[in-house]
């Protein structure tokens, strides 16, 4: 960061399969209104707006940011829309952070959303691409082989995926905004239908409607309150090409590099010891073990053991996704922003029932596309 930037307001909607009570604009405004209220601000206090969502095919509204300019209070202000597939919520927030860090703007509103109920995500994410055979895999079909490969490489026992979901649901039950809040057992998860081996129905994220918003501010304004801010110590995004030879999608290189850059800039040498909690983008259970290794929390082959030991459980050594994460709530475009926002709430000490006690440093992480886009930030309670 060229100059300090902080999260000064956080807002999110209640997430559900169908928020048929609101329009897209209404959903977005629900999160924006809460973020403004949280920060004690009004639209007139905002210098610029950065908005993000996943592909337009999900709702079938082309360039929705165009009709949302007025809804997010961006009339006569700079406004940008960010696109990076599933990671977009995180890269949107990071774009907002760089807008403030650059010195051009002092207070920026960032918002991301998805209203999956208006379309069909499986259809939208499985376009019949010209010149190739149609795959119709959806996200689960695309990522399942990498989970299988992870299991083959690490000899992880097969209960790790279901156990990850058990912990996630325990956390979701404590989060008033989460979509799935019913606790489950390993046995119950194992009894659900196998969708894409090794991913069972009970190990997938839900399809959610929801939105998230944050207000980011420069040091001078952040210190004015009214709340204790979350200071952004480092934020990076990295991408990798889809068909580059010998690409490893179990532990993508761009994810490793992005994490390394974020830790370096945040002055973190041992993330396992120095990070108190992390909100990782885990849409399918096995990805938690995979990201623990990819992000340097655990050595290769050791990620699943941390889960098995209960280290990643709420109250454990390194609680992962204390909000319940993507496994409990997945409004795709907003999911990455929720990871970053939940990390911020943790270091602000304002995560409510899912607060990790004494959390001072937290990682927010998202990935998107064919494990191609990575976006992460480290936030701290201290400037």
């Amino acid at each position: 960061m060229k100059r300090p930037v902080a999260v000064v307001g956080v807002g999110q909607t209640h997430h559900a399969s169908r928020r048929s009570d609101v329009s897209i604009a209404g959903l977005v405004r629900e999160a924006v209104d809460r973020a403004l209220l949280d920060a004690g601000l009004e639209h007139k206090d905002i210098d610029a707006v950065i908005i993000g969502k996943a592909p337009d095919m999900l709702e079938g509204v082309a360039q929705p940011e165009q009709y949302l300019v007025g809804a997010v209070g961006a009339h006569m202000k700079p406004m940008l829309r960010v696109h990076t597939a599933g990671s977009v919520g995180a890269s949107t927030a990071i774009t907002a952070a760089t807008h403030v860090a650059s010195g051009l703007y002092n207070r920026v509103l960032t918002v991301a959303f998805e209203k999956q109920s208006e379309g069909n995500t499986m259809w939208a994410l499985s376009p019949n691409l010209p010149f190739t055979a149609p795959l119709v895999a959806g996200a689960g079909g695309y990522f399942a082989p990498y989970c299988r490969e992870y299991i083959a490489r690490t000899k992880a026992p097969l209960h790790i995926g279901p156990l990850t979901m058990v912990y996630a649901r325990e956390n979701g039950a404590r989060n008033e905004y989460a979509h799935l809040r019913e606790p489950v057992t390993v046995e119950q998860v194992m009894e659900t239908p196998m969708l894409w081996d090794p991913i069972r129905f009970g190990e997938t994220c839900p399809a959610s409607d929801g939105a998230a918003a944050m207000i980011l501010a420069c040091e001078e304004l952040a210190k004015k309150g009214p709340r204790r801010p979350a200071w952004i110590k480092a934020a990076y995004t990295f991408a990798e090409a889809m068909w580059v030879p010998n690409r490893d999608q179990v532990s993508p290189k761009a994810g490793q590099i992005c994490a390394g850059k974020v830790y370096e800039a945040a002055g973190i040498t041992d993330p396992w010891k120095e990070i108190d909690t992390a909100e990782l983008y885990v849409p399918f259970s096995w990805f938690q073990a995979m990201w623990l290794e990819n992000l340097g929390f655990c050595a290769e082959g050791e990620g699943w053991k941390a889960i098995d030991r209960g280290d990643t459980r709420f109250g454990g050594r390194l609680p992962i996704d204390p909000s319940g994460g993507v496994l409990c709530t997945n409004p795709i475009g907003a999911s990455g922003m929720l990871r970053l926002a939940e990390a911020a709430l943790q270091v602000m000490g304002r995560a409510g029932s899912h607060q990790v006690e004494g959390a001072k440093t937290a990682l927010g992480h998202a990935y998107g596309g064919g494990a191609q886009y990575f976006a992460m930030w480290v936030v701290s309670s201290e400037l």
Binding site: S23, K44, P130
Partner: protein
């Protein structure tokens, strides 16, 4: 384009994408549409600065603030813009026969509503006075097409 000794003509591949979406109206647009069906009444909403927005969105586009009181407006007004469609595109335009798109500033409203003139559409021009032609009771569904069209009124 060449393939060995062969000359290949430029190639294309046909792709058809089709999927039905379902959009939630939310309470604001929902109330506007429900009133078309139940009341044959067009409602606007006042926003900051006093302007009446039709159709209402629930917020002020000027400053993002929430809309305030609901205001009934007349179902007649003045055409402020017109575009005549002499050759409608199949499955894209709403009707197979020629018609005119119009922006109508209804009496009592500060914004213009997008709709169509079908009857005598070739006579419509900026400044024309028009009135809503409603579908009869029992046929209105809570849609902008509960107004069949706007019809030209005699010049005042």
């Amino acid at each position: 384009m060449r393939l060995g000794d062969m000359v290949i003509e430029p190639m294309t591949q046909r792709q058809v994408m089709e999927f039905p979406y379902k959009h939630s109206t939310g309470p604001i647009v929902g109330r506007f549409l429900a009133a078309l069906k139940e009341q044959r009444q067009i409602w606007g909403q006042r926003v900051s600065g006093g302007a009446v927005i039709v159709p209402p969105q629930g917020y002020s586009e000027w400053d993002g603030s929430a809309g305030t009181e609901w205001v009934p407006v007349e179902d007649q007004g003045v055409v402020v813009a017109v575009a005549k469609v002499w050759q409608p595109v199949e499955r894209l335009h709403p009707f197979p026969e020629p018609f005119a798109y119009v922006l109508v500033r209804l009496e009592g409203a500060d914004t213009a509503l997008l709709h169509v003139v079908k009857t005598d559409f070739d006579h419509v021009r900026i400044g024309s006075r028009v009135r809503a032609e409603w579908l009869p009771d029992g046929e209105r569904r809570g849609s902008i097409w509960d107004i069949r069209e706007f019809r030209l009124l005699p010049a005042a």
